[in-house]
C-alpha cells in the first residue's frame, strides 16, 4: 500500500486570503461579513493553491462557504474575462438529499449578489450556473442541465455514479477541477466506501486531477479520514479548526441518589428539570436516542405542565414523513418553536436556526456524536455551543461523566471505515464496465487507489470478476452474466443491452428496510396480526425472546418472510426491549475510558473524601454528581468486586438458572461477539437453552448447571473468529445482511424490467439465493461479504480479538466471583428489558427491590 502524505496546517493571515481574491468578490464579501471566519483562514487560500484539504470544524457555520469561496472566486475571475467554458468545474457531493436550502444560501445567493454588484460597476460577468441533481431531480430539470451545462454540479454519491455512466453528460466531467465532499464524518460506512471508489473513477475520467476538499465535523482518527478523502499515495492538508475554545457542558442528575427516589417523584423531577432548562433558554433541542422516547417526552411534558407546551413543541425523528420533518425544520428556523425533541435525525446537516441549548437525555454513546449534537446550539458565528446531559440511571451517569471529560479534553473516539467491501466493489466494477472496455490490470490499479481498497488482494478482486462474469453460473450461455472478461486479452466490458438501465435503477448502498408484521402463531388468536416491528429489531430477536408491543407481551417463535410469529399471553418477563435495535452502541474508545476510570476510582475507593474529589476533578462535574458516582462504585466494591480496565469480573449467581455475568466494559459491538462465542461454547458443552443478554457494559449467559471453567477456557483469540462465524451461520442476522449485500452486488435487482420488488419479495428471493450460494461454496464472495459485515461492522470482532489476546498475555485478567444475586453494576443488564413496560414505576420498583436486597448483603458483611 502506498502511503499518503498528511500535513497538519494552521490558519493563514487575513491578508493572505485577501490577496488571492478578485476585486469584485472581495468587495462583495466584505460588504456582507466583517472579516474571514477562522475556517476560511484555514481553507480558502489552500484551496486556491489547488491543494487537497480536509477541513474539520466542530460546528457548522462557515464550512460550506469556505469550500465555495475559492471556487466562486476562481469562476468569477474567469467569467469577468469571458473565459468561462461550458464544462463542470466543481462537483459538490453530500450524503444529504435535502440540499436545496444550503445551496441557495451558499451558492445561488452569493452568485446573484456578486453579479448585481458587478453590473452596478458596469462589469459584464458571464453566467455562472449551478445544477442540482439528486434522486428527486425531475427529467425536465435533467434535460435542461444537458443543454446548459452547470459550472458547479451539486449532487449525492449515487447520482454522481449515474451521471458518470451517462454517455453525453459525463463528457462535461472530462476536465473537472474541484470536488467538494461535505459531511465526511457521516461517511464511515458503506456509503462512504461507495463514494471513495466513485472519487477514483471520477479522477480517472478527468484529464485534470481534481482538487479534493473534504468538510467534516470533529472526527477521529483524522489522518485516516484524510487518507480516505484523497486516496492512496496522494497528499492532503488537514485543517483542524479550533473554533470552540470552551464547550459549555454540564451534567444534571435528577436524584440525590438515582435509586432511592420514588418512581413517580423521580419522573416528576425529571420533567421539572427539563421544564426549567427550557424556561431559561430561547429555543431548546432535546436529543433522546430513540423514537419512542421522543414521543414520550412530549406527552409527559404536556401532562406535567398542562397548556404550557401546546403549539410550541415539536417532534423530529426518522419515522416521520419527510414533509412533517420539513415543517418542523421550517418552524424552527422561523423561531416558532420553544422546544424540539429529536431521536437522532436532527444531528446532521441543514441549518436549523438559533438554538441556544441542547439537552442530551441519556448518553449519546460517543464523543463525536455528543459534540455534533451540542454543535447544533450556537450555530451562529463565534458563539459557543451549550449542552446539558440529563441522566436517567447510574450507568448513564458514569458514562455521561466520562463523555463530558473527553468533550472538554477533546479526546475524540475513533470510527472504523469498512475495508475491502466486496458488494460495493462489484457494483462499481459493473459501473466501470458500462462506460468502456478496460484492461483488467488498470481496473485493479484504479480500485487500489481508493483508501477502502488499498490493500485489496488480487484473489478477492478476481473472485468478484468471476462472479460478475458468470463463472459461478453453470449455464454455458452465460445469459445472466453482467460483464465479459477475456483471459487472453485481459480485457473486460459490459454484457447485455440493459446494462446501463439495470445499473442506474439499482445502484446505491443503503439497504431497503421493511416492517415485519407480528402474527400470533398459535392458540385462539392464531393468524391475528397484532402490530409491526422494524426488520432491524427482528434481527435482534432469538427464539423464545419476550418483547413488548403496544403494551402487550409476546414471545417470539420464528420468522418467515416478512412475518414474525409469536405466542400471545405470555407470563415470562420481557427479555429484549423494543428500542434495543435503535440503541446506538457505545464507542469502544469511550467504553475503554470508562473501564479505566473505574480503575482509578477503585484505587481510591477506601478514602471517600479523596475519591469524591478525584472524580470531581477528573470528570469536571459537581461534587454532588461525583458523590453519586462514588456511592455507586462503593456499592459495587462492597457487594462484589469493581471491574476495571485490567480486570474483567465474571459474576456467578443463581436465579431461575445459573448466570455468568461478564462485566466487560467494551461496548455492545465487542460484547455482541464475545457473548455469542461464549454462548456457542456453552451449547457445545451440551448446555441447552442458553439465554444471552448484551449491553454496552457487559453481557451474561444463563442456563442450567453451567460449567463455568470449561466455558471460560473454551474461547481463545485464535478460535474466536471461527466460533462467531459458526454461531451466526443460518441466523436471521446473517440472512438479512446477505440480502443487503446481494442487493448491493446486484444479485437481487430491486428494479428490473420496469418492476420494483417489495422488501418482502426481496426477502423471499434472498432466502432461496442464500441456500443456493451456500450450495456452491462457503466462500462465495458475496456470502463472505455478508459475514464480514456482521463480524466487523455490526459487531467488532477485531477489538474482541485483541481483548482476548490481552487476557492470554495476562494484561487483563478474569476474576470469577460468586455473588448471591446480581451486583449493582450488572443490574441494568439484567433488567434492561423491563424498561419497556408502560408503567415506569414497575421498573423503578424492581430496581429498588433488588437494590434493597443488595444492601442487605452488604450489611451482613
Amino acid at each position: 500500500m502506498v502511503e499518503s502524505k498528511i500535513e497538519f496546517i494552521g490558519a493563514r493571515s487575513s491578508a493572505d486570503v485577501k490577496g488571492i481574491m478578485h476585486p469584485i468578490v472581495k468587495e462583495w464579501f466584505f460588504a456582507k461579513f466583517k472579516d474571514f471566519s477562522l475556517t476560511q483562514l484555514y481553507g480558502v487560500a489552500n484551496i486556491h493553491e489547488r491543494k487537497n484539504i480536509l477541513i474539520s470544524a466542530p460546528t457548522g457555520g462557515t464550512k460550506t462557504l469556505t469550500a465555495f469561496l475559492s471556487i466562486l472566486n476562481y469562476l468569477v475571475s474567469l467569467a469577468a474575462e469571458n473565459e468561462l467554458e461550458d464544462k463542470i468545474y466543481a462537483v459538490y457531493v453530500s450524503p444529504l438529499r435535502a440540499l436545496t436550502n444550503d445551496i441557495y444560501v451558499n451558492l445561488e445567493r452569493p452568485l446573484t449578489e456578486i453579479k448585481e454588484l458587478a453590473e452596478s460597476k458596469g462589469i459584464k460577468l458571464q453566467d455562472i450556473r449551478v445544477g442540482l441533481r439528486t434522486g428527486d431531480t425531475t427529467p425536465s430539470e435533467r434535460a435542461k442541465m444537458t443543454r446548459k451545462v452547470p459550472h458547479i454540479f451539486v449532487t449525492t454519491p449515487e447520482s454522481l455514479a449515474i451521471v458518470l455512466t451517462a454517455p453525453k453528460f459525463s463528457e462535461n466531467l472530462r476536465a473537472l477541477e474541484f470536488i467538494v465532499v461535505d459531511e465526511v464524518h457521516a461517511l464511515a460506512n458503506k456509503r462512504g466506501v461507495f463514494l471513495s471508489l466513485m472519487l477514483e473513477r471520477l479522477e480517472h475520467f478527468s484529464a485534470i486531477p481534481p482538487v479534493r476538499i473534504g468538510l467534516s465535523a470533529t472526527i477521529a482518527p483524522i489522518e485516516e479520514i484524510a487518507k480516505f478523502l484523497v486516496g492512496a499515495g496522494r497528499e492532503c492538508l488537514v485543517a483542524q479548526v479550533p473554533l470552540v475554545k470552551d464547550i459549555d457542558i454540564g451534567l444534571i442528575s435528577p436524584g440525590v441518589d438515582l435509586l432511592t427516589m420514588d418512581g413517580a417523584e423521580d419522573q416528576k423531577r425529571l420533567y421539572h428539570i427539563l421544564d426549567e432548562l427550557i424556561g431559561q433558554h430561547k429555543t431548546t433541542l432535546i436529543f433522546t436516542n430513540t423514537r419512542n422516547a421522543t414521543e414520550r417526552i412530549i406527552h409527559y411534558l404536556d401532562m406535567h405542565f398542562p397548556g404550557k407546551y401546546t403549539g410550541n413543541i415539536g417532534a423530529h425523528h426518522s419515522s416521520m414523513s419527510r414533509s412533517q420533518r420539513f415543517m418542523i425544520e421550517e418552524r424552527l428556523r422561523k423561531g416558532e418553536l420553544k422546544v424540539v425533541v429529536s431521536s437522532t435525525s436532527l444531528e446532521l446537516g441543514i441549518d436549523i436556526g438559533s438554538i441556544d441549548l441542547v439537552v442530551l437525555l441519556r448518553s449519546p454513546k460517543s464523543v463525536s456524536r455528543a459534540l455534533q449534537r451540542i454543535g447544533r446550539a450556537g450555530h451562529q458565528l463565534h458563539s459557543n455551543p451549550k449542552g446539558r446531559f440529563v441522566v436517567t440511571d447510574r450507568d448513564d451517569l458514569v458514562e455521561c461523566a466520562v463523555l463530558m471529560k473527553h468533550m472538554k479534553e477533546k479526546i475524540i473516539d475513533r470510527v472504523d471505515i469498512p475495508m475491502n467491501a466486496l458488494d460495493v466493489l462489484a457494483q462499481h466494477i459493473y459501473g466501470m464496465a458500462i462506460s468502456q472496455i478496460w484492461n483488467i490490470d488498470d481496473v485493479l490499479k484504479l480500485i487500489r487507489k481508493s483508501y477502502c481498497y488499498s490493500n485489496l488482494s488480487k484473489e478477492d478482486f478476481m473472485s468478484i470478476i468471476s462472479y460478475l462474469s458468470g463463472d459461478y453460473d453453470l449455464e454455458h450461455r452465460n445469459v445472466y452474466a453482467k460483464i465479459w472478461y477475456d483471459k487472453e486479452t485481459k480485457q473486460l466490458g459490459k454484457k447485455g443491452k440493459l446494462a446501463r438501465l439495470i445499473y442506474l435503477t439499482n445502484i446505491g448502498t443503503i439497504p431497503e428496510e421493511g416492517f415485519v408484521s407480528v402474527v400470533v402463531g398459535s392458540g385462539d388468536a392464531k393468524g391475528n396480526i397484532v402490530g409491526s416491528i422494524d426488520e432491524s429489531f427482528l434481527e435482534r430477536l432469538k427464539k423464545g425472546d419476550v418483547f413488548v408491543l403496544g403494551g402487550v407481551k409476546y414471545q417470539f417463535i420464528h420468522s418467515k418472510g416478512m412475518k414474525a410469529y409469536v405466542i400471545a399471553n405470555v407470563s415470562k418477563s420481557p427479555t429484549i426491549p423494543s428500542w434495543f435495535s435503535e440503541q446506538l452502541p457505545l464507542s469502544f474508545d469511550v467504553a475503554s475510558a470508562i473501564a479505566k476510570f473505574r480503575g482509578f476510582v477503585k484505587e481510591r475507593v477506601k478514602n471517600s473524601l479523596e475519591c469524591v474529589k478525584f472524580i470531581q476533578d477528573y470528570c469536571y462535574c459537581t461534587s454532588e454528581t461525583a458523590g453519586q458516582i462514588y456511592r455507586y462504585c462503593l456499592e459495587q466494591e462492597d457487594f462484589s468486586v469493581m471491574p476495571t480496565d485490567k480486570k474483567v469480573i465474571v459474576e456467578l449467581f443463581k436465579q431461575d438458572k445459573d448466570y455468568m455475568l461478564f462485566h466487560s466494559m467494551y461496548g455492545r459491538r465487542v460484547n455482541d461477539a464475545l457473548s455469542r462465542a461464549y454462548a456457542f461454547i456453552a451449547a457445545q458443552l451440551k448446555h441447552r437453552d442458553i439465554e444471552v443478554g448484551v449491553n454496552d457494559n457487559g453481557f451474561f449467559i444463563a442456563g442450567d448447571a453451567l460449567d463455568t471453567s470449561k466455558i471460560l477456557k473454551g474461547l481463545t483469540s485464535s478460535n474466536l473468529r471461527k466460533i462467531v462465524e459458526e454461531a451466526v451461520e443460518k441466523t436471521d442476522v446473517l440472512k438479512r445482511r446477505f440480502r443487503h449485500c446481494a442487493a448491493r452486488s446486484l444479485m437481487i435487482l430491486r428494479n428490473y424490467k420496469g418492476r420494483s420488488k417489495s422488501v418482502g419479495k426481496q426477502q423471499v428471493h434472498s432466502h432461496f439465493l442464500y441456500s443456493a450460494v451456500n450450495e456452491i461454496s462457503r466462500d462465495f464472495p458475496i456470502m463472505r461479504e455478508a459475514r464480514r459485515e456482521v463480524l466487523n461492522d455490526l459487531m467488532d470482532i477485531s477489538n474482541a480479538e485483541s481483548i482476548l489476546k490481552k487476557i492470554e498475555r495476562k494484561e487483563i485478567n478474569f476474576e470469577v466471583v460468586r455473588t448471591p444475586l446480581v451486583s449493582p453494576f450488572g443490574l441494568n443488564l439484567i433488567t434492561q428489558s423491563h424498561s419497556d413496560f408502560i408503567k415506569v414505576e414497575d421498573r423503578v420498583n424492581f430496581l429498588k427491590r433488588m437494590h434493597e436486597l443488595q444492601m442487605k448483603v452488604i450489611e451482613k458483611r
Binding site: 437453552d689 437481487i748 435487482l749 456452491i776
Partner: protein
C-alpha cells in the same frame, strides 16, 4: 407392503414390484427467479440429477416411478432452453424404470401434451395395488375405496425445524399417520436447496383436515439416511 425411505424418496415394495415416489420438483424455478432479476448461480436441473442418481444407486432399477406433481414450477413462462432441461430430466428418470407416472397436479397446457408425446402417463391420481398416489390438493372418490390402504401425497413440502436451545436447523421429513381408515404418507419435496415447511408452523393446505401433529416424522439426513423422530407434536419447539 414394505415401506422404505430412501433419502427424500419413498420406496414401496409389494414383493413382486417396486415403486418409487418422488416429491414436488419445481423444475424451472431458478429460471423464473432470474427473469425477475435474481441472479441464481446454481443450476437446479443438474443438482436434481445428482440427487436422483444417489437415490437410484441405492434402489437399483425400478418397476414404477411416480412423480407426485408440481414437476415444473408454477408461475411464469419457461424458455425453450429450459424445456430442454425438463425433458432431459424426465427422460433420465424414465430410463431408470419400466413405467413413469406423472401426477398432473396443475394442468399445464404445454407440459402435458409434451408428456403424451413422450409416451408418459399424466394422471390426477395413480392406483397401484392397495396404494393411491396423488398430489394432495384435491380429493378423488377412488381414494376412499375399501381396497385402498395407503395414500401417498406430495404438495405439503414437509420439513422440520430442530432446535437445540441455541441453534436451529431445518430438514426435509416424511410425515406418516392415519386419516379415517387410511394410512397417509406425505413425501417431502424433491426440490433442492429449500427444505420446505414445518407443519407445526404453517398450514399445508391439504384437501383433508389431517391432524399432522399426531403424524410420525421421519427426518431426512444429508447422507440419505432417514431417522425416526416420532410424533411431530411431541418434538420440542423451544
Amino acid at each position: 407392503m414394505k415401506i422404505d425411505f430412501v433419502g427424500k424418496c419413498l420406496l414401496l415394495d409389494c414383493g413382486s414390484e417396486r415403486t418409487l415416489a418422488i416429491g414436488d420438483l419445481h423444475l424451472g424455478y431458478e429460471g423464473a427467479m432470474r427473469r425477475s432479476g435474481v441472479m441464481i448461480p446454481v443450476k437446479l436441473f443438474e443438482k436434481s440429477i445428482v440427487d436422483f442418481d444417489k437415490i437410484i444407486s441405492e434402489t437399483g432399477e425400478l418397476d414404477n416411478i411416480v412423480i407426485l406433481g408440481d414437476l415444473k414450477h408454477e408461475f411464469g413462462s419457461i424458455l425453450p432452453d429450459e424445456w430442454k432441461y425438463i425433458i432431459k430430466f424426465i427422460e433420465y428418470v424414465k430410463s431408470k424404470c419400466k413405467k413413469l407416472i406423472v401426477i398432473e397436479g396443475n394442468h399445464d397446457v404445454i407440459l402435458f401434451p409434451l408428456l403424451k408425446k413422450m409416451n408418459i402417463e399424466g394422471v390426477d391420481f395413480f392406483v397401484w395395488k392397495n396404494v393411491v398416489f396423488t398430489h394432495g390438493d384435491k380429493e378423488y372418490n377412488e381414494m376412499n375405496s375399501k381396497k385402498i390402504d395407503y395414500w401417498v401425497l406430495g404438495h405439503g413440502h414437509p420439513a422440520i425445524n430442530l432446535y437445540d436451545g441455541n441453534k436451529k436447523e431445518k430438514y426435509k421429513c416424511f410425515l406418516y399417520g392415519n386419516y379415517k381408515d387410511k394410512e397417509v404418507i406425505v413425501v417431502p419435496s424433491f426440490f433442492p436447496l429449500i427444505e420446505g415447511t414445518d407443519a407445526r408452523e404453517f398450514d399445508m393446505k391439504f384437501a383433508w383436515d389431517f391432524n399432522l401433529k399426531k403424524f410420525r416424522s421421519f427426518v431426512v439426513s444429508d447422507d440419505l439416511k432417514v431417522l425416526d423422530f416420532g410424533e411431530l407434536g411431541k418434538i420440542r419447539t423451544d
